[in-house]
Symmetry: C2
Subunit: 144 residues, 2 copies
DNA sequence: TTCTCAAATGTTACTTTATAACAAGCAACT
DNA sequence: AGTTGCTTGTTATAAAGTAACATTTGAGAA
């Protein structure tokens, strides 16, 4: 099963970082993995409530914040949602495409374009940090 | 006064587009212009309430949405805020640089790089919508 | 002028998203 | 056991955004 495999990798990743992938965090990660694309915090919260009876917003937000900080998830600001990072081990920067309709996500390599952006930003006196580029649009299936 | 000048340009811009920069919209634009960087909708709402006694959220959101659609403002998703577009008339998408230290904002033209990104995304079956690129980093003054 | 229509704004109520603040639990070490 | 620090639970509330319908206004037609 692919989820189990990812969780295992995530666990190793966290151990390397010296942080703990606790039961709760793992559970939240599994829930996010269960979706094909973008998930919202309150969706995860609802799922969590189904599984363990009760849960409050801070429970979910803390877990999600942790997972983002650990590099296991990305936050999609434009949609107030979260997606799984599919390049946990490799530390290249991602170009994340999100379909605003169905929430499907695609990750490409953003390295070349970020080189250009770094140069452009540098000209304006800005030093761009390591990060992902997130773009929203329509995927092939949702195209009008 | 720089604000008055910008408003005038904005007015011309709207006339060219065949849309109306009404008194309310102008007032909201002026309020946003009064801030050096990112402004939040509810800050604008509070200012508006000071100036005209009462105002409800939809009043502000509608004006902000209009101003974004007209290209006079950009929405900064990651901060739930808005900034003035300093390239009115160039009809471009913004490359918005935010200093993680001091919060200073710089806007460049993202059109060329988005052309590249559109092509790359198109190869993956994604049609990228009109949007801004937001990147975080360090500005010259905050550089270590 | 007066009517009419569409766009803009007002108003009420609500939904969604997110966080503060403090209490309780738990595991790891002394 | 005691203490320490991180994690989670709990309550309450703040912040952000929208739906739905009423009212106003202004430009063009009758």
């Amino acid at each position: 099963m692919e989820i189990a495999c990812f969780i295992e990798a995530a666990d190793r990743h966290c151990q390397q970082q010296g942080v703990k992938l606790t039961a709760l965090r793992r559970q939240v990660l599994e829930l996010v993995l269960g979706y094909p694309g973008v998930v919202k915090a309150y969706q995860v919260l609802a799922d969590l409530q189904k599984q363990r009876g009760i849960a409050a917003p801070p429970t979910v937000y803390r877990a999600l914040d942790f997972l983002v900080a650990a590099g296991l998830l990305h936050k999609v600001d434009a949609l107030n949602g979260y997606i799984v990072c599919h390049h946990v081990g490799c530390n290249h920067e991602g170009l994340i495409l999100v379909c605003g309709d169905c929430g499907r996500v695609e990750e490409l390599d953003a390295t070349p374009v970020l080189d250009v952006l770094r140069q452009q930003a540098g000209g304006a006196g800005f030093a761009i940090s390591q990060q992902n580029l997130m773009l929203t649009g329509r995927c092939k299936e949702c195209a009008v």
